[in-house]
C-alpha cells in the first residue's frame, strides 16, 4: 500500500519528466501546495478526495502557465535549457515552500474524513483505511492515465512528442501545445496526489524535500514515461524499503531507492518498463 502511495505521488512526474523531459524538481512542492489547498477546502467541510478532484482543473491551468513560462524563457532559447530549467524549478519549489510558510506557518496540517483514523481487520491484521483509500486512488489514477495516453488522440500525441517532436509537427500537431497540455495534466494529477499525501500523513511546508529523491527514483526505475511501470516501481520500492528496514536496520532504508536504481540501470538502462 505504501508502494502504491509512492506511485501516486510519482505519476505526475512520470508525465512531466518521463514523457516531456522537463526537469520538474518542483513536482513535490506543487503536490504539497495541493495538500494545503485540500486542507483549506477540508476545513470548510469538503471530503479530501473530492477536494483533490475539484482542485485538478485549477492545477491544470497552473501547470499550463508554468510550462508556458518555462518554454518561453528556457526551452525555446536553446540547448542548455535543461540545466537552467533545473534551476528554475528549484527556484519554483523554494517560492512555493516559502509562500506556504508565510501564509500557513510551519505547523503541521491534517484533514479529517470518515476513513482517516479508522482501520479494518483481516483476522488479527489491521489495515489503516487511509492507506486503502490511497491505494485505490493510486490504482485509479494510474489506469486512467494509461488509458488516456494510449487510447486518445491527445494522449498518443503526448507520447509521440516524447519520442519524435519533428515527426509530430509534420503530422500537423503543435508540439508546444501538446507539451503544455501534458504538463497541465501532470500538475492536475499533483493536486490529487497532494490530497492523498495529506490523507496519509500530516503535512508541513518543507515536506516536499522528502519526496524529491524518491519520486525521481520511482520514475527512472519504472522507465521514463511508463504509467504502469510507475505503479510497479512504487510497489517495488515500498516493499524493498519495508524489508530492508526490518531485516538490515533503519540506516540502510533511505539507501534502498538509489541502490535499486543503480542495480536496475546497470542491468536494464531503460528502466524496468522502458522501451
Amino acid at each position: 500500500m505504501l508502494g502504491c502511495f509512492y506511485a501516486a505521488v510519482s505519476i505526475g512526474l512520470s508525465v512531466s519528466f518521463g514523457l516531456l523531459d522537463v526537469p520538474h524538481v518542483a513536482h513535490p512542492a506543487i503536490m504539497v501546495l495541493g495538500s494545503y489547498c485540500t486542507w483549506m477546502l477540508s476545513v470548510r467541510g469538503w471530503d479530501p478526495i473530492v477536494a483533490g478532484v475539484v482542485l485538478m482543473p485549477l492545477f491544470f491551468v497552473l501547470g499550463v502557465l508554468i510550462y508556458r513560462f518555462y518554454y518561453e524563457v528556457f526551452e525555446k532559447r536553446g540547448s542548455d535549457a535543461g540545466v537552467r530549467g533545473l534551476a528554475f524549478f528549484f527556484g519554483l519549489a523554494f517560492i512555493i515552500e516559502v509562500g506556504l510558510i508565510l501564509v500557513f506557518g510551519v505547523d503541521q496540517r491534517s484533514v479529517e474524513a470518515a476513513y482517516i483514523g479508522k482501520s479494518f481487520s483481516v483476522g488479527d491484521f489491521r489495515i489503516p483505511m487511509r492507506m486503502v483509500v490511497a491505494f485505490g486512488v493510486a490504482l485509479l489514477l494510474t489506469f486512467s492515465l494509461s488509458i488516456y495516453l494510449s487510447k486518445t488522440f491527445t494522449g498518443r500525441a503526448i507520447k509521440a512528442v516524447a519520442q519524435d517532436e519533428p515527426a509530430l509537427r509534420l503530422m500537423g500537431a503543435n508540439p508546444v501545445r501538446i507539451k503544455q497540455w501534458a504538463f497541465g495534466i501532470a500538475t492536475a494529477v499533483s493536486a490529487l496526489a497532494g490530497a492523498m499525501l495529506i490523507i496519509v500523513s500530516p503535512v508541513e511546508p518543507a515536506i516536499d524535500r522528502l519526496y524529491i529523491g524518491r519520486t525521481f527514483c520511482v520514475v527512472v526505475l519504472a522507465g521514463l514515461g511508463s504509467m504502469t511501470g510507475t505503479l510497479a516501481a512504487g510497489l517495488i520500492l515500498g516493499v524493498a524499503e519495508s524489508i530492508v528496514l526490518m531485516q538490515l536496520g533503519a540506516s540502510w532504508a533511505p539507501a534502498v531507492a538509489f541502490s535499486l536504481l543503480l542495480i536496475v540501470l546497470g542491468i536494464r538502462p531503460q528502466g524496468l518498463f522502458g522501451r
Binding site: 510551519v106 489503516p128 522528502l210 528496514l245 526490518m246
Partner: protein, 405 residues
C-alpha cells in the same frame, strides 16, 4: 598636541564601541521538522531582547539577535556558525533548538573556546566535554527522564519493554540511555527497532510492536514522526498488554499537534518541561505576554514547552554579563558554573558538564482530552504528572488501552 589627539581618539572609539550593539548569533530551525518549535522559541528570545534593551541593554549597549534558519538540517549549522563568528563577528552564541542541529557545532565551539548556551539538546556535550556549554533544558542524563517512567511501569507489573527510536542523534542518545536503564532495572527487551527519519507510514512498525506483546513501549521520535506514530497506534492498536506508552516523543508538547491529535493523545505518558499547574515566579505574566505575541506571529499559541526556557536562556546571559561586567566568554562561563541563575522557569544551577544539577523534567499522562479544543490544554489535570514523585499530580491510569478510552 599628540597626546591630546590620542586621548580624543580614545574617547571617540570608546564612544563608538558603546554605540555598537552586543551581537548574539544563532541558527534556529524555522522550517523543517523542528520549525514549529523553533519559531515559537524565537518569539520568546525576541521578547527577552526587547526586555533587556528596555532596561538599557548589556553593559550599556543594545542587544541585537542575529538569526539564520538552519531548516532543521544538521548539515547547515557548522556553516552558519562559522559565518556568525567570522563574518557577522557576534559577541555571544546561542545554540539552535534541538539536538540534531546542535551536535555538529560542538567541535567548532570547543576548538575556539567559546561559550555556548544550549537549547533543548540532549547529551550533545556527552562526548565532546566542552566546559563552556550550558543547556537551558531541565534535564541531564537519561535517568532524569526515565527513572520515574520505568519505575512506574515496574510498579504496574511491567517485565518486558519495546523500543522504537528515530535513527538520528537525539532519539539515539535518548534511546541508548533508556536501554541501559531498562537493562539495569531488569526489564527484558522484546522489540528494538530504529526507523529512518524519512519514514512516512508507521503501520508496519506499530504492527510489529503489537506482535511483540511488550508491557512497556518506549518511543523516541521527532515531531512529524510522533504525530504519525500516534495516528498509527490509534488505527492498528498496540495490544491490551501495554501498560505504558510514550516516554521520549518530541512534538506532543506543541499546541498545534496536541489540538490536531486531540483524543488520540489520551493515555500516552510522555516527557514534558512545563504543564499547567506548575508555578514559578513571573511565569504567568510571561505566558500572557507570549501568547499575545504568538497569536500575531502565528506560532504555538500556548508555548509551554520550549519558549520559557528560551527566555530563561537570555535571562541567564543577562545575569552573567551584569555580574561580571564583561563579555569575556571564560568569565561568563565561570560565573554560570559557580552561581545559581534566577529565571522564569525557576532557579537553575549547573553541573560541571553544563547540564542541570537539579533536573525538573516530568512524565505526564494525557487524560480526558477532547477533539478540537485548544482551551482545555490551559487547564491543570489534562496532563497528569506521574513522575517525579515530588511534583506528582495524580495516579497513573493503566493499561494503555483502558486509559485511551
Amino acid at each position: 598636541m599628540k597626546i591630546f589627539s590620542f586621548l580624543l581618539g580614545l574617547i571617540f572609539s570608546a564612544g563608538a564601541l558603546a554605540q555598537q550593539p552586543v551581537k548574539i548569533g544563532m541558527s534556529m530551525p524555522q522550517t523543517g521538522s523542528l520549525g514549529a518549535g523553533g519559531q515559537a522559541a524565537l518569539v520568546a528570545l525576541r521578547m527577552w531582547v526587547e526586555d533587556v534593551n528596555a532596561k538599557g541593554g548589556l553593559l550599556g549597549r543594545k542587544v541585537e539577535l542575529i538569526v539564520y534558519d538552519d531548516q532543521t538540517n544538521a548539515a547547515n549549522t557548522p556553516g552558519i556558525y562559522t559565518k556568525l563568528l567570522d563574518v557577522d563577528k557576534v559577541d555571544l552564541l546561542f545554540a539552535p533548538y534541538g539536538t540534531v542541529p546542535t551536535a555538529p557545532i560542538m567541535p567548532l565551539v570547543k576548538q575556539r573556546g567559546l561559550l555556548l548556551m544550549g537549547n533543548f539538546s540532549f547529551q550533545v556535550n556527552h562526548t565532546v566535554k566542552h566546559d563552556m556549554w550550558f543547556n537551558n533544558a531541565p534535564w541531564n542524563d537519561a535517568s532524569s527522564w526515565f527513572d520515574g517512567w520505568i519505575a512506574t511501569g515496574q510498579k504496574l507489573g511491567g517485565k518486558t519493554i519495546a523500543f522504537l527510536a528515530a535513527d538520528q542523534e537525539f532519539a539515539q542518545n535518548l534511546a541508548n540511555g533508556a536501554r541501559e536503564l531498562a537493562k539495569k532495572a531488569g526489564l527484558k527487551t522484546v522489540y528494538d527497532q530504529n526507523y529512518p527519519p524519512t519514514t512516512t507510514d508507521f503501520s508496519s512498525l506499530v504492527r510489529a510492536i503489537r506482535q511483540a506483546n511488550a508491557d512497556l513501549v518506549f518511543v523516541a521520535s521527532y515531531p512529524n514522526d510522533s504525530v504519525a506514530i500516534i495516528r498509527s497506534v490509534n488505527e492498528i492498536g498496540i495490544g491490551n498488554n501495554v501498560k505504558l506508552f510514550g516516554g521520549g516523543m518530541v512534538g506532543l508538547q506543541f499546541t498545534p499537534n496536541m489540538v490536531n491529535l486531540g483524543s488520540l493523545l489520551n493515555g500516552v505518558i510522555n516527557y514534558n518541561t512545563f504543564v499547567p499547574g506548575m508555578k514559578y515566579p513571573g511565569i504567568d505574566e510571561y505566558f500572557v505576554r507570549y501568547q499575545k505575541k504568538a497569536a500575531e506571529a502565528k506560532v504555538d499559541p500556548l508555548g509551554y514547552y520550549i519558549t520559557p526556557y528560551n527566555y530563561a536562556m537570555g535571562q541567564m546571559i543577562e545575569q552573567a554579563v551584569n555580574a561580571t561586567k564583561s563579555l569575556d566568554q571564560k568569565k561568563l562561563a565561570d560565573y554560570l558554573h559557580k552561581n545559581e541563575m534566577k529565571t522564569i522557569v525557576g532557579p537553575i544551577r549547573y553541573r560541571a558538564d553544563g547540564e542541570w544539577a537539579n533536573p525538573r523534567v516530568v512524565q505526564a499522562q494525557f487524560r480526558d482530552i477532547k477533539d478540537k479544543d485548544l482551551e482545555q490544554f490551559k487547564q491543570p489535570g489534562k496532563q497528569v504528572v506521574i513522575s517525579p514523585e515530588a511534583v506528582k499530580t495524580g495516579e497513573i491510569l493503566a493499561p494503555f488501552e483502558k486509559a485511551r478510552k
